[in-house]
């Protein structure tokens, strides 16, 4: 009898606890807002957030994406107004630094232990150079190279080219077979920076030139830089008809719908292509040099990071979420779902193409020139490169003029050039 009574009490208590638990948690529940420019990744982020919320009852996260081209303005104005989200999807390098310098971001290096295991190179994109502190957890590494359609290559009996002339032969063969060799267009200037990021490093000599130009020992009027631009122009006959009018989404559709055999593109396209056309089989190779033994490079950069608004009302909850984003568990989930290279150490991409890119990156990677080093002042190296290249492609400027304009523009603020 006694025992029975105790059982009953226990059961009642348990029932009570179960009944009360949500109420207690509900009272303390915090909602974090998370702003991003990744409108394409809404579904994936909601899935990641669900995983986090399952582990952290009491914290809810709302993912709010903005259009890529308007995100910076919207974010900057909100932060200046003293509002903004709790969790911020940050751009990298010069895109992040002004926000950190203005004091809008919470430094994370002493609060997120996992950051100590990250590759120091990968943290550069989230570091404020003035105080040397880290303000974000890098989320992805991106590379820029050639993506090609494996089915079309097999159909035409084409192989990955080992030299520049082989590349032109491949392009010629695709053109003869009625395919567009390269999906790339020039309507939007920034896609030309990607174009340059794929073709350039092999011809300007990768990290050697990069280090010289960053140190101010070489300039953008260096023959190596000009040669890289001239090599881009050699591909013009293999771009779509009317390529000056072909914008970014057109490029994506051309490649994903198998109308084009190759595209000079970032690794971040893999996920998009898989969504647009699940049957598409993609291969990768770096742009080859003149001879097979010349080193071939791909450009690498840290895409951005996750940071915390210094004004957040829920610092503890925000830190819990950021620690989750720095975890191996998240890194693996990120890589598998979005088909991008996670910056979290120790993650292994499941996707074979991505695994190949990681291998290429480790062997033949070089920093993405303008984005990693010349976005810290105005006019930025990227603005200049994008628009001057557009001028060259439109036939308005010579390569020499464009190089001189880029040099003049960057030298106006970049101290090693002054």
């Amino acid at each position: 009898m006694h025992v029975r009574l105790m059982r009953l009490t226990q059961v009642l208590f348990l029932a009570l606890a179960v009944l009360l638990a949500p109420a207690v948690a509900g009272a303390e529940e915090v909602t974090l807002t998370f702003w991003s420019w990744r409108t394409e990744d809404v579904d994936a982020y909601n899935q990641f957030i669900a995983a986090f919320e399952a582990e952290h009852p009491g914290i809810r996260v709302r993912f709010v994406p903005y259009r890529n081209t308007e995100y910076n303005t919207i974010l900057a104005t909100a932060l200046q107004a003293g509002s903004g989200p709790d969790i911020i999807h940050l751009r990298a390098y010069g895109g992040m630094e002004p926000l950190a310098q203005a004091g809008y971001l919470m430094p994370l290096d002493d609060k997120v232990e996992a950051l100590k295991d990250f590759n120091p190179d990968h943290l550069a994109g989230a570091t404020n150079r003035a105080d040397g502190r880290i303000y974000g957890v890098p989320f992805a590494l991106q590379t820029v190279q050639v993506l090609y359609n494996v089915r079309i290559f097999e159909e035409l009996g084409l192989k990955e080219p080992q030299t520049w002339s082989e590349l032109l032969e491949v392009a010629e063969a695709l053109k003869r077979a009625g395919y567009i060799p390269f999906a790339n267009g020039a309507k939007e200037g920034w896609t030309l920076e990607t174009f340059f990021g794929a073709v350039g490093p092999t011809f300007y000599g990768g990290s050697q030139y990069y280090e010289e130009v960053v140190a101010g020992e070489a300039t953008f009027e260096d023959p190596r830089f000009k040669r890289a631009v001239e090599k881009m122009l050699e591909l013009r006959p293999y771009l779509p008809d009317n390529y000056m009018g072909v914008g970014y989404t057109d490029m994506q559709v051309l490649f994903a719908q198998e109308l084009a055999g190759m595209m000079l593109a970032g690794s971040y396209e893999l996920g998009t292509f898989a969504q647009m056309n699940p049957d598409l089989k993609i291969g990768v190779f770096p742009i080859p040099g003149e001879r097979a033994e010349d080193p071939a490079y791909i450009s690498v950069y840290v895409d951005g990071s996750y940071g915390i608004n210094a004004n957040t009302k829920h610092p503890e909850a925000a830190l819990a979420f950021i620690r989750f984003l720095a975890s191996r568990e998240y890194g693996q989930m990120f890589t598998n779902t979005l088909k991008q290279i996670s910056a979290v150490p120790g993650t292994q991409p499941e996707d074979p193409v991505l695994a190949e890119i990681v291998e290429l990156m480790e062997r033949q990677g070089t920093p993405y020139l303008m984005l990693t080093a010349f976005r810290y002042g105005q006019p930025s190296g990227s603005t200049l490169l994008q628009n001057e290249l557009q001028g060259v492609f439109a036939g308005l400027l010579s390569v020499d003029q464009a190089a001189a304009n880029i040099q003049e523009g960057v030298a106006s603020w970049y101290e090693p050039f002054q």
Partner: protein, 293 residues
């Protein structure tokens, strides 16, 4: 006199070929007008039919009628893009701005149109000068002002901006209306014991109702369609108006053409229907500003 008779005779002689020529002229004129109408409307027709098509269909048969008339793309757009919220916000902002501008401008116009005081003309010109100057050029200070007033990311930032920028044209139009009202009405109202405000509100304001309608229409269209200020002032998704919300949606579905066209159609429909239903008022309202100048 002689010349005129000659002319008349000549006219009679050439009447037959003239009639024939007039007929040809008419055909040419109607032909030209129809061609022009096609230029204006065919792109919109394409927008409508494309909204019902799949991307593949758009590719293969851009001009043909869609193979199925399903409302699915519209439902998808409505759900995924939060259109009901955007729509409500647009209505709210436009309506509140209209009320505010009608109140402030009718009061000011009444003072300028009916009272004699020293600064009358100077103030009238002060208001009028705003017609020439686009408010956008002051957007930077305006932005900081809204930030300091803690109004960024609220509908108030838009309402106040719109109402302020609508003042010049509204004051100009309403002053004109008030000036045409006969003096006797005022005297009669005063004799009846109305205060100044009662005279205005009970007697004079109802008489300029057409003017109020004109002011509403002149301001309504640009505010409803404005993209610039929401782009800068509004961040929260739940506060966005249709034009801003639409660009977000377009960024997201740039490769899904059918959905894009469906979204455009939904966004354009309210004003289009309003125009088709009350085109006369629309036209009179919109042209008033330019013609009265």
């Amino acid at each position: 006199m002689a010349t005129r008779l000659d002319l008349a005779a000549e006219r009679k002689a050439t009447v037959a070929p003239r009639r024939w020529r007039a007929a040809v002229g008419k055909v040419l004129i109607y032909g030209g007008l129809t061609l022009l109408a096609l230029i204006f409307v065919y792109p919109l027709f394409l927008m409508v039919i494309t909204a019902f098509k799949s991307t593949r269909e758009i590719f293969l048969d851009p001009f043909g009628l869609p193979s199925r008339w399903s409302l699915e793309p519209f439902i998808t757009v409505w759900r995924r893009a939060n259109f009901s919220t955007y729509f409500r916000n647009s209505v709210l902002v436009t309506a509140a701005s209209t009320v505010l501008v009608l109140t402030c401008s009718s009061l000011a116009a009444y003072a300028l149109g009916r009272y004699r005081f020293r600064l009358n003309n100077a103030l009238y010109i002060f208001f009028l000068a705003g017609i020439m100057i686009p408010i956008r050029l002051g957007v930077l200070p305006l932005f900081l002002l809204m930030r300091n007033l803690n109004l960024l990311d609220t509908h108030w930032s838009l309402i106040l901006t719109y109402a302020a920028s609508g003042m010049p044209m509204s004051v100009f139009l309403l002053t004109g209306f008030f000036r045409t009202l006969p003096r006797e009405l005022e005297y009669a109202a005063r004799i009846d014991g109305c205060s100044e405000f009662q005279t205005f509100f009970r007697v004079m304001l109802p008489l300029v109702r057409p003017g109020l309608a004109t002011v509403t229409i002149v301001n309504f269209v640009p505010w409803w369609n404005d993209f610039f200020f929401p782009l800068l002032f509004i961040q929260s998704d739940e506060l966005k108006t249709i034009p801003l919300g639409m660009t977000i949606f377009f960024g997201q579905y740039m490769t899904d053409w059918g959905l894009l066209f469906a979204g455009m159609l939904i966004a354009s429909l309210p004003l289009l229907l309003l125009y088709l239903v009350m085109s006369r008022q629309f036209i009179e309202g919109l042209t008033a500003g330019a013609v009265k100048g």
